[in-house]
Amino acid sequence: MNALADAVPKFDIPTIEYAALAPILIVLGAAVVSVLVEALLPQRYRRSTQLVIVFAALVGAFVAVVAARGTQQIVAMGSVAIDGPTLFMQGSILVLAAIAALVMAERKVDPAGDSFAPRASALPGSEDEQVFTRLGWLQTEVWPLFLFCVGGMLLFPASTDLLTMFVALEVLSLPLYVMVGLARRRRLLSQEASLKYFVLGAFSSAFFLYGTALLYGYAGTVSLSGIADALTNSAGDTGLVLAGVGLLAVGLLFKIGAAPFHQWTPDVYQGAPTSITGFMAACTKVAAFGALFRVLYVALGGIRWDWRPMMYVIAALTMIVGTLFALTQTDIKRMLAYSSIAQAGFMLVGVVALSSQGLQGTLVYLVAYGIATVGAFAIVTLVRDSTGEATHLSQWAGLGKRSPVVAAAFALFLLAFAGIPLTSGFTGKFAVFTAGIQGGATPIVVIGVVASAVAAFFYVRVIVLMFFNEPQAEGGPSVVIPSAFTTLAITVAVALTVVIGVLPQLVFTLVSQAGTFVR
């Protein structure tokens, strides 16, 4: 008997903490259901069913996040950490994704139906495509992609080992590549963006994987805490680690859109359907910053003096490149893309602060930035002429005269990006800059404030265009009155931007309760 028991290798049933993992499981489960709906349900029922599934999943996952508050443990056999920062980021991602989903669900703005291609696989400009457009086909395939993507984003900042993190990275990235290529208008630009994002994204994933391999070579494990232990125990030769960290950072900074790994951002933001741009600009950044923080703070805290100079340079470069290039943009989507690069630079100030204040500051900044971003892109979808969205800046002239409310909302988001007090953007800036100076990164903060002043110029320029210039003559673009979906999204974004600006303590209380990473 005993001999037999010894012969069979002992097998522990993996323990899965379902409650703690519920947010991720709900969203991924809903994604699977959503695929089935796409495959099985007749087309006329799909849209309503998908919307119910999507919003039920997002709300359900959010409830699960709230229910799990205070959790501080490593679950799923050591590969997922459910701690304060994770839950805060998951909550933020879910809220931002829900607002973005409202914009994606819009069907009143584009006269052809929605903003997604009737058949994504058809060649741009081909006869096939024209046929489908003429038939007025509307697809709902974006929803399962969206849900998978959100599921990956929820897992990405929670991963405690590099392999789980890599899987999450792919789960979030692959649907995004496809979604970028789904634009109904300007198909060629959209497909180009999709391909560019895919090729560069795959490239950066390879970097990430290579870095993982090198770190495994050094530490003999891919778990973040294992790497941290290895670094404490053998403080000798760190060459392999540094090479690994460098490669890993490339993968993460690519997703963040930090210079010099930002080149894809303007093209992809411009080519993607605008509602998707808002979604990815806001949510991907939250997820990627979460992962970056966890890797740097949990695994690599021991060699912080080695990677900190590198992050100094990248933060400064990102702020400078983002602001300087944004100055010369003439397309609103490209301008917002460069602005998001600059904003990523400001958030990196929180990373180099090397403290829990830095983490909290960046979290606040991410929320503030994300809300304003989703709102701003939602408004971009509304300004249209006969060929689709009017994204050239000159077409926005005099918008304040024609549609004062929409223009005022957009101005509010721009002021938030510029970090004017009493808007959410200032709350975020104040938090990261304070953390930066507390952490001794004063030179970076000074570069940050100067960059903010320069950045103010291109935000303000749009306000000037909208409010102080005469509208174009006949045939200029106009603001389309959207359905309740987009209206609700913009209203929520405006309200949150003001609330976080005027009563910042609400969000500071939340992040300080989030505490720090569990190891």
Binding site: I420, K429, V445, V460, F468
Partner: protein
């Protein structure tokens, strides 16, 4: 400590008023203006009532204190309170707003924006002006300092003259740049206070009590000072002011130059000197040189201007040189003079801009060359303009004289040669004011002037009369203002560790000071 609600009321009334004004139907412009005027008068009435409650004997302390926790994570309070200097500046602000509304009754007619939007923005600006002078928490001060830019930006950009876009953006970017440098210093100060006492704070009184290492002080001082120097503005940070003042409506120009720019000199006196005494002494030579350059350069520029509004703007550059000089000579006469100057300059510049505005809107041109002989067709307009101008050139008996004299006495006490050079500014002032008067008001009457320029009417007289009364009253009897200001100045002098040099002339400001 019990909270006093006076200052909160001064903040809330204009804000609520602005919201109410926006509820008035767009077409009913007169109602919007009347409502706004009423609200500004109520605010002014509240200010008067508050001033009567002010205890002059304790003018060095922050009275009417109100404080609630705002962002507890960073120990930030929504804290208000006024000392003597802040009180007179708030009184200046709330008294100018109804005058500006009344004088600029038709300023926004036919502009890009709506009339109700114009008056609502002015009310929002009024709240921000009260807030920026009343804040005793540095974070709150910063918030008002920056938030104030937004209404002004829209006031210039939507209601201004032909080059309004350029002027509005230039104004905003200059101010934002300074403000952001100040933000870095402000955060630095918070971190330093955390390092020194164990818990960071933004409370002014606690921060002023710290003794910060002199090198750190210099860096922090630089951030604050540049922000204030842009705001004031001192040469070489002044180039935004002529553009902004010339392109905005007369009313906006009054609030911009008369009140907003005072935040710069107020900030130097209150924040630079008290928070960073060592750095202030260190920077004194530089600031004095800049101030004197500003006095002379502003005056010379004013003489060379062909545009009435730009001329008035440059006279202010010169006057701000005097104010900054008075602050940094570190004598009580100089600083009392500066504090008084801030008030006097507010009233006399307001009169110049408003009457100049009446003149410009009648003729439809800002160019001096387009005018002549106005005193023949519009004697009251010309006469009031002359009084305002004489006040601006510091004629004895009119308000600016007392303050300019105090500043110069304060300067002579310590830096004789600086005083000599600065006095040249008075001579030049006579030149720019009288030349402008001569060119526009005297001489033959061009046809266009005879045709278009008529004399001041009831509403305009009603708006200008209080200004002239104040200018003359403060010219003869400035003591009430000095009594309120002096204790606060003494506090600054004490904080900055300066004592007056042994008097070579009998002290003037302390004449009746007990």
């Amino acid at each position: 400590m019990t909270n006093s609600y006076w200052l909160l009321a001064l903040l809330v009334v204009p804000l609520v008023g602005a919201a109410l004004v926006m509820l008035v139907p767009k077409a009913n412009e007169t109602l919007a203006k009347q409502l706004a005027l009423l609200i500004s008068l109520v605010t002014f009435g509240l200010t008067i009532a508050m001033c009567l409650e002010f205890v002059v004997a304790k003018a060095a302390e922050f009275q009417f204190a109100y404080s609630i926790s705002w962002v507890s994570n960073y120990n930030i309070n929504f804290a208000l309170g006024v000392d003597g200097i802040a009180l007179v500046l708030i009184a200046l602000s709330t008294s100018l707003v109804p005058i500006v509304l009344l004088a600029g009754w038709h300023d926004a007619d036919g502009a890009r924006g709506t009339v109700r939007g114009y008056v609502a923005l002015i009310l929002v600006l009024e709240a921000a002006m009260v807030g920026v002078f009343a804040a005793t928490d540095l974070f709150l001060f910063y918030v008002f300092f920056e938030a104030m830019l937004v209404p002004v930006y829209f006031l210039i950009g939507r209601y201004g003259g032909p080059r309004r876009n350029y002027a509005a953006v230039k104004f905003l970017l200059y101010s934002l740049f300074g403000g952001l440098l100040m933000l870095a210093s402000l955060i630095g100060l918070y971190v330093v206070s955390g390092n020194l006492t164990g818990h960071g704070t933004f409370d002014f009184t606690s921060l002023a009590a710290l003794s910060i290492d002199p090198t750190t002080q210099k860096w922090l001082f630089a951030g604050f000072f540049i922000a204030f120097a842009i705001k004031a503005p001192l040469v070489p940070f002044h180039t935004w002011l002529p553009d902004a003042a010339a392109e905005s409506t007369p009313g906006t120009a009054v609030l911009l130059v008369g009140v907003l720019d005072k935040v710069g000199t107020f900030g130097m006196l209150r924040y630079c000197l008290e928070l960073f005494p060592d750095a202030s002494h260190w920077a004194t030579p530089l600031v004095i040189v800049l101030a004197v350059i500003g006095i002379i350069y502003g005056a010379l520029q004013a003489i060379g201007q062909t545009d009435i509004k730009r001329l008035i703007a440059y006279t202010s550059v010169s006057h701000f040189g005097f104010i900054a000089l008075g602050v940094f000579v570190m004598t009580s006469q100089g600083q009392s003079g500066s504090a008084l100057y801030m008030v006097n300059h507010g009233f006399s510049t307001a009169a110049l801009f408003l009457i100049g505005g009446f003149l410009i809107s009648r003729r439809g041109s800002r160019l001096i060359a387009d005018f002549g002989g106005v005193q023949k067709v519009a004697p009251v307009l010309a006469g009031t303009f002359l009084v305002a101008g004489l006040s601006s050139l510091a004629l004895p008996g009119l308000s600016s004289f007392v303050s300019e004299f105090l500043v110069l006495v304060g300067t002579f006490e310590r830096y004789t040669w600086v005083g000599v050079v600065a006095t040249l500014g008075i001579v030049l002032a006579a030149l720019y004011i009288l030349l402008m008067y001569q060119r526009t008001m005297t001489g033959p009457v061009p046809e266009a002037v005879a045709e278009k320029v008529h004399d001041l009417r009831g509403r305009e007289v009603l708006a200008i009369a209080p200004l002239l009364v104040v200018i003359i009253a403060l010219g003869f009897y400035p003591q009430p203002v000095l009594d309120v200001v002096n204790p606060a100045v003494d506090r600054v002098m004490h904080a900055v560790g300066s004592t007056d040099p042994a008097p070579q002339v009998a002290p003037v400001a302390e004449g009746t000071h007990k």
